[in-house]
Subunit: 349 residues, 2 copies
Amino acid sequence: MAKVVIIGAGMMGSALAFPARENGNEVALVGTPLDREIIETSRKTGRHPKFEKDFPAGVTYYQIEEVDRALVGADLIIGGVSSFGVEWFGDVVLPILPENVPVLTVTKGLMDTPDGKLLTYPALWQAKLDKLGKKVPLTAVGGPCTSYELVAHDQTHVTFCGNDMEILRTLRGIMATDYYHISLSTDVVGVESAVALKNGYALGIALTIGINQKDFGLDSPLHFNSQAGVFGQGMKEMYRLLQFQEALTLDTLGVGIGDLYVTVYGGRTRLVGILLGRGLNIDEAKAELNGVTLESLVVAERVTRAVKKSAERGVLDLKDFPLLCHIDEIISEKKPVNMPWEAFTYEQF
Amino acid sequence: MAKVVIIGAGMMGSALAFPARENGNEVALVGTPLDREIIETSRKTGRHPKFEKDFPAGVTYYQIEEVDRALVGADLIIGGVSSFGVEWFGDVVLPILPENVPVLTVTKGLMDTPDGKLLTYPALWQAKLDKLGKKVPLTAVGGPCTSYELVAHDQTHVTFCGNDMEILRTLRGIMATDYYHISLSTDVVGVESAVALKNGYALGIALTIGINQKDFGLDSPLHFNSQAGVFGQGMKEMYRLLQFQEALTLDTLGVGIGDLYVTVYGGRTRLVGILLGRGLNIDEAKAELNGVTLESLVVAERVTRAVKKSAERGVLDLKDFPLLCHIDEIISEKKPVNMPWEAFTYEQF
């Protein structure tokens, strides 16, 4: 039995309490400053306000002020913040963590640099740790896993990545259950890039659903030819971006494609894509979503910025990324949706 | 304007009458001996009995006895038979076709040989043509396209493949519309293998839907973690099989993955997968489908046979194909569904 401390009580962090606890570990769930009500509610009711099922018995709950107490004796710390909590996690959490206790982060995303590179969050955090002169093994989880389906015990296959295979094996031992299956990879850049990239492309696929609703009526049946056409194109562009990241392997592509598939059906990314496809501009779509900032939009903008920089330098060709470029002009330039179907076609000799 | 003759009035052959005719061509639809009622009904009502929309005005209909008359002046012949009509098409149709008029076939499938090779239908037909000493340029269409969505004018991206790029460009000119987008490829083995292989894997993904219905109730919501996990695994196995076919390119993989995506949502393959996942054995599932023989089952069996032969020879490793092997044992050995999740996991250094 190990002690697992989850910092960040959003849906994904909280969902990992299920396999962690059901596998027999001690589990402490610590809220960020934004999670105050979630922790309060979970303490009172034993249930996360967004889940349809109680936490397993025995999970304990902590407000952020109590984090030091929660961390005592930790064997594994799960970083459960969204990509908008990346800086907070680096600036506030990393400094207070015990040394040599592995961190497993669920945060998916990439950060672009002025010279057109795409950095993973573990790389950003590692730089902070190096400055602090602190040793904390950073690992991350990628692959197709929506929180509510993990809670429902749907069979799930994810990949843990990190530099040290021995540590990864230990983490798998702590977290694996008969419904939570874990692959291991030392290719952190590959796994993290794959699962970040899929965000923008899932939005692209969802656009076609909205386009059809505009063309054929809100109640028209779902059409899959157009979804599949964009899915295939998205896969090709992800493949090229993984090459660009020097991180293309069949395993990482598999992680990314599985994650793309699940994200097409997942929550807000799908919703904003449908709204845009129906003809709303990006401001109107965001307003419908009550101004929630979406990770998929941020990733698409960052990746496009990096791709354009690299295209200027002749490293990439924008013609290879017509879908990404269209998604970006919808988001950044508020252009109307007009899927560039002919740009997806090719002649192969 | 060209004259397009479609031989085979099943759903896919008939659906191609829409872009062909709407693009301004003369279109003749010829039924096989099994399509007698379809042709009769279409003549009377102007509508295919399985479509929700009339054929475009001007399409003409022929019974198989009238095929010679239909063929007069043909510029393009579309072969619209299912994979169960492959022999009939080779033995009966090819001999009566005019020379030098291209054939575009919609039939998706592969045939395995005793020494573990997988042949495309164009290769089989080419052998027949060579025996006849006849010159008929054979081309094929692959990629994500369900017939009823093509009829509905959902945006669709397919790939025409054949040996001669000039002929392919001519065919694109005849068939392309503002909703039917056409890529071209001289990689016939790649495109045809990709779109055949996806059949078995789509069945694998559908299994998870049935498994969840068994575990959580028939009315339980769809879960996508498990679908996505199997989708990612299916992509990896398809990638390896395209390598085995010496036909792996990013374009062919894109065709196959798009086609896999659309097939998960399409008709009988999905249905039989769900029935098997719920716990029916293969005989019971077939009985539910009124004994209809499914292309996906046939392809999965043939591909597994070829993979096993090649594994015996040391060319392939069965460990790389746990999903295919499980699908095959469900179909061939009537084993119960028990998705080998742990066999999908890996350690990547």
